[in-house]
């Protein structure tokens, strides 16, 4: 061993004998737990934000709202004016807006088979495709085709299967069966029925209406209807945050309403927000507490070796040299603890991701930038605490 190595080995022995193993381990464990808590709190917050606003999760039901006027019996006209729609477009909470076009002609549907007879008067609506939650290759209509794809609300099937069918002694239908069933559609044109064949290609949770492709309805309205220019009575908007109080206020001010389920969701989200906020506040308190504990530990460690430090300086150890040496004793421990905690949180994130993916929720597989940044900031803070504590004890 050369001189610096010998000196380091001796200094290490002096300092270690002063500290005591038990105290050292306890403080390290305490700091690790606190680090885990704060890093998890940051990562959970990021995950939560990603679940709410992330691209992969954005196409969920919560971010599309169907708006219509409140029907209260006072007004006969419950359509939405052009001005209102223009105004709606300008609102900051509206990302995109799509009009629900409704059919302006009489239409009916009936079964082609005697086995399952039904007949019903019907209506159609359409929205631009990007507002649909059903993806299907068959969702298209070409000019001249008599084949019309339909999207019906999920509730329709439920109503039929659990309400209508049992009461009428009819068989219950699976979605697959419904989609295989051709439906005869009669459009009334100047008293004459024009036959089309409809088939269901999907079930929507988002829009409770019988939907046909936009281009078909535009053509049909033009072709079969007398009335010109129909004013929509419903629009669908895409929004980042259905719980936005601004949005809720705007709807109220303009006599509009939307699906209650979604507003209820926003109420839940407020509660979740509060809980997450409280937990991150707890995390911050925990962090401060951890820093306090660790800095107390350092003070205690150095206080317990103050006799040794004093004697070292007495026999000629340079304060600066000693400070550097002591810093080197703590820094590796801090780095190891922080990286171990990061690793544990990263593993947790990895497993959480695969679990949530199985639940159709999507978060990143990796640690967020904020989590890593927090770890680095804490490293700097710990370093500063070490530095000033050691300095204080050495210069005294």
């Amino acid at each position: 061993m050369n001189q610096p190595q010998l000196l380091n080995a001796l200094l290490k022995k002096i300092i270690r004998s002063g500290i005591g193993k038990g105290r050292y381990i306890m403080a390290a464990v305490g700091l690790s737990i606190a680090m885990l808590l704060i890093l998890s709190a940051v990562q959970i917050q990021v995950n939560y934000n990603e679940l709410l606003y992330g691209k992969n999760n954005r196409d969920s039901i919560a971010n599309f709202l169907v708006l219509n006027k409140v029907i209260n019996g006072n007004s006969r006209d419950n359509t939405l004016s052009k001005e209102l729609i223009e105004d709606l477009k300008k609102q900051p909470f509206v990302e995109e807006i799509g009009q629900l076009t409704s059919s302006k002609f009489k239409v009916s549907a009936q079964s082609p088979s005697e086995n399952l007879p039904f007949y019903t008067d019907l209506f159609f609506e359409s929205v631009p495709d990007e507002f649909l939650d059903v993806k299907s290759d068959q969702w298209k209509w070409e000019m001249g085709s008599t084949d019309i794809p339909l999207i019906i609300p999920n509730q329709f099937l439920d109503l039929y299967n659990f309400g209508f069918a049992p009461s009428q002694g009819l068989p219950q239908l699976t979605p697959g069966l419904v989609m295989a069933l051709p439906i005869v559609i009669n459009v009334n044109y100047q008293g004459l029925p024009i036959k089309f064949t409809g088939h269901v290609v999907g079930f929507s949770d988002r829009i409770s209406s019988v939907l046909v492709p936009d281009n078909f309805l535009k053509m049909a309205n033009k072709q079969f209807s007398n009335t010109t220019e129909a004013r929509p009575s419903r629009v669908v908007i895409k929004t980042k945050d259905p719980g936005n109080p601004q949005l809720v206020k705007y709807l109220k001010d303009n006599g509009l309403t939307t699906d209650a389920d979604k507003t209820r969701f926003s109420k839940y989200r407020k509660i979740v927000n509060t809980i997450v906020g409280a937990s991150s506040a707890t995390g911050v308190v925990m962090l401060l507490f951890a820093l306090l504990v660790f800095s107390l530990f350092i003070q205690l460690t150095i206080a317990s070796t103050s006799k040794e430090i004093n004697l070292l300086i007495t026999i000629g150890a340079a304060p600066r040299q000693l400070q550097t040496f002591l810093m080197k004793q703590y820094l590796p421990l801090n780095i190891i603890i922080i990286f171990t905690s990061l690793l544990v949180v990263a593993l947790g994130q990895f497993f959480l991701e695969s679990f949530l993916r199985s639940q159709n929720m999507f978060i990143s597989q990796w640690l967020s930038f904020y989590t890593i940044a927090t770890a680095l900031i804490i490293l700097v803070v710990l370093w500063l605490v070490n530095y000033f504590t050691i300095k204080k004890y050495i210069s005294s």
């Binding site: 001189q3 610096p4 010998l6 000196l7 001796l10 022995k13 002096i14 004998s17 002063g18 040794e308 004697l311 300086i313 007495t314 026999i315 000629g316 150890a317 340079a318 304060p319 600066r320 040299q321 210069s395």
Partner: protein, 215 residues
Amino acid sequence: MQIQLHELVPIPLKEKFLSRSSDLWNTTVSFSPKSWIKIVAPSGTGKTTLMNTIYKLRHDYSGNVLFDNKDIKTINGDEMALLRQQKVSIIFQDLRLFENLTARENIELSRVLQKPIYEADVIDEMAERLGITPILNQRAGICSYGEQQRIAIIRALVKPFEWLLMDEPFSHLDIANTEKAVALISDECTKRNAGFLLTDLDEDHLFNYSNTYRL
């Protein structure tokens, strides 16, 4: 390096010291380099206070201590560390060893605290001369006072110095061991051309003193 005391009086003992005559307190004295100084100091005359003041461990005094005309009050921690590593060595009355280090480690620490002037085997040679070879690997805390004193003497001698401060360095040694220690200290001081300040209770003729002062 010249050491000068200028009207030095420890503040806690001011009344007591001002009322009696002393060769060193409250006067101006200069110790020239290489001189071997004996300070005879009966109990209670402040010899440990003097040593600690010159070594800059105490600051509660009026007057000045000057190293080469530089007031040691103006010397900062790192500069003082350098002086202690290179120019001033000390044997404390209360020995001040690291109890958890072995005798050898205590001496080794002093050797490697700066760029070593001796190889490690010099420790064995000196230990042999003072008769503490058997306890070299023993924890200093469990050594007898006599052994600790010899460890402290070797610790002070394995490093460079121009001045050696000794505060009752033989208080725990018998005559035979004192003579061995005196011989070693003389050799090392001569080798370095170094001076020393030695305080003791009574007069003696252990060394060829250049000057003797009464505290």
